[in-house]
Symmetry: C2
Subunit: 477 residues, 2 copies
Amino acid sequence: MADKKLVESITSMEEDFAQWYTDVVKKAELIDYTSVKGCMVIKPAGYAIWENIQKNLDAMFKETGVQNVYLPMFIPESLLEKEKDHVEGFAPEVAWVTHGGLNELQERLCVRPTSETLFCDFYKNDIHSYRDLPKVYNQWCSVVRWEKETRPFLRSREFLWQEGHTAHATFEDAEARTIQMLNVYADFCEKVLAIPVIKGRKTDKEKFAGAEATYTIESLMHDGKALQSGTSHNFGDGFAKAFGIQFADKDNTLKYVYQTSWGMTTRMIGAIIMVHGDDSGLVLPPKIAPTQVMVIPIQQKKEGVLDKAFELEGILKSNYRVKVDDSDKSPGWKFSEQEMRGIPLRVEVGPKDIEAGKCVICRRDTREKTEVPFDQLDAKVGEILEQMQSDMLERARAHRDEHTYVAHNYDEFTGIFNEKAGFVKAMWCGDQACEDKIKEDLSVTSRCMPFEQEQISDTCVCCGRPAKKMVYWGRAY
Amino acid sequence: MADKKLVESITSMEEDFAQWYTDVVKKAELIDYTSVKGCMVIKPAGYAIWENIQKNLDAMFKETGVQNVYLPMFIPESLLEKEKDHVEGFAPEVAWVTHGGLNELQERLCVRPTSETLFCDFYKNDIHSYRDLPKVYNQWCSVVRWEKETRPFLRSREFLWQEGHTAHATFEDAEARTIQMLNVYADFCEKVLAIPVIKGRKTDKEKFAGAEATYTIESLMHDGKALQSGTSHNFGDGFAKAFGIQFADKDNTLKYVYQTSWGMTTRMIGAIIMVHGDDSGLVLPPKIAPTQVMVIPIQQKKEGVLDKAFELEGILKSNYRVKVDDSDKSPGWKFSEQEMRGIPLRVEVGPKDIEAGKCVICRRDTREKTEVPFDQLDAKVGEILEQMQSDMLERARAHRDEHTYVAHNYDEFTGIFNEKAGFVKAMWCGDQACEDKIKEDLSVTSRCMPFEQEQISDTCVCCGRPAKKMVYWGRAY
């Protein structure tokens, strides 16, 4: 039995989801608050998840030919201002450096909120001919956006992310890369994080400042709120014209390049918590869990028990990320800690088990227990981890589908959002005025125009005029 | 024969070492300059070296129990000011954020030049009992120091590094960790980067702002100038007292913790260039080279040549980082590029080789060529890479030893520094006035008091009073 004390100290999800989230983030030791308002410390248990996200995603990037680079964290104000829409989108929320050492700077520098302008400035010098294309660069770094309201992982003044920036000879090449990276994000979310996503395009109102088209993957949290989980932008040649990035094509004429950018952030750690967590704490998908198996000895002071626990660790460690909890806490307390931290499996082993030549595997998500002879442990752990990974995805998909509704008219639409939480599929005329009214009335935004369109009705759910697109609507983090 | 054009475009080392360095950095495509004064773009070829440095060093850290975390990039002015020596050392060279979005901040924030103060602020809340100790945390991040004169990798306003910060129950534990990490750095430099180092302690004049003792590893560049390559600091309980970091010890009394910090930076890429490079460009030690082997087809349009080149890549790629250069450039140009980029081995294969069932391996450092039958290629490449790695270390060590001199008195000392470049071993009385005079007279600084002391003479090389320590002196980057 898990010790109740640790668990009782967190609020239940049903009672207060926001407080549950904050409790889990603290008790699973992912985050600490700091003296720097709106910024956080990512503690070892949280950062290890980010390291695994980086490792997996970076390998997927490199398979598609991505190369990593590092650009400065500062952007001179004049550079930020070169693309009109972009500066309007970002200038209100950047941090400004005005002094270097003891001197005031001649031109102030913003701390990068994103690096399109820096990449453009770089590509302008680095691209000369069609032979230099495509450029498919990415950087792992931190960015700063001066948010007023912050929440651990989901919205903070500084966060970690990767930002890919590419340049191509044609619009088609840029569009293909934009979609390719969206698909990488979707695969990563579903296969590694066990989070199902909706792929689609953002409306003009919701697209990235300076983009011609923004594509997004949207996921649904346990409380029915949406989370934008990754975006991929096609800039056309807008930035290239603003920055003068030209290349000599095969036909010997000078042409502007076409560009893309795409990013995923530490907010995905928030998504893992809010999609998979439960009232005992975090539940980590096996593929991303820094520790996949915790071996917990029972009556560890009895002769042979600790030895056996380390022997099992020895058996498992060539194939899995495994640890033994040999601290002097009670087994119940150790169970609670392992559950709070979301470690996918625990292996319990005590004197009676040893006598019987077996141990017990307990799954974090279902609490299902399986007795396993020692000589079958390695294979069984693999099997259960794989099953758990796939069950978590299916459970999240079922939850999302159960919380995805359809509205044919505004009465139905408002009715659903007043009573329930989730995605609503409904038609839209294409006019931003309807998005504005829906946001004003219900605090609901268009999440995306999904690639998989359905014809829910013929008319816009808001204004009744002829419909152009089906949209996923939701309240978002 | 390597094509001369690419090579002729770089200045020779003997003629102008500084210009040679700048040429290599540009031509090997490691760096680009930016519109942000004093900041640089680390291009794919440069960043891939940093990724390998990170991978190797991070694994070595984790073997000693280090855990990674991430702390904010901003430090409130009041926090920076808490430790008197520390703020005096850093305040003159930090960048200040004064505005967030459209508002002026109530308190200005500096962009971290180093994170002792943030770690202290974090540890103050995170450490309560002796059970919480030691804390052995590290972060990989960028830092900013508002330097006036900058040089690629060696000194820039923003650079990448890792900074480890630990907290311990006793002074002895802190001292042991300080020395342990210095040894990790020394091992890394010698075994992975093939750069020999002198281990020692900094004089008080040269130690880190706020440290009780700073230990360093010092290496010698090809031009005879010294490079501080990694430092490890023991803070005693100075920061703990300034920040109030206390723990309840086993005896139930409250005690201050003892702390350390240690860092290594992207300047090590500069060290690799300046220790191993030659007039054809970069020479990368095999263990750190992003590409270890470049297969270059000769007469690649002839039937079977490209196929064979890719077949050789296939044979090698399970054990080595290997690529084929199948671009439409001439073999000579490809040789020059592979040499400029410092790729340790090239494998040449053409129609005649194929007929004879063999290819040619050419070592980047010595240009030595070895004919190898195809079926022995995999083993031979491993053997040559290993030999090259060890030869590079021995060559660098021999160069350093040939450029390490001994001075018994000030005449000898000034004579050497006026005519030669390198380390000078000489005795010192322990008085900072002598260091000041030597710096004033010769632009020479004390690099370290080496752990391996020798008794060169009985008197200080500068003032003639009784000597306390042997010091390595040099002109430094």
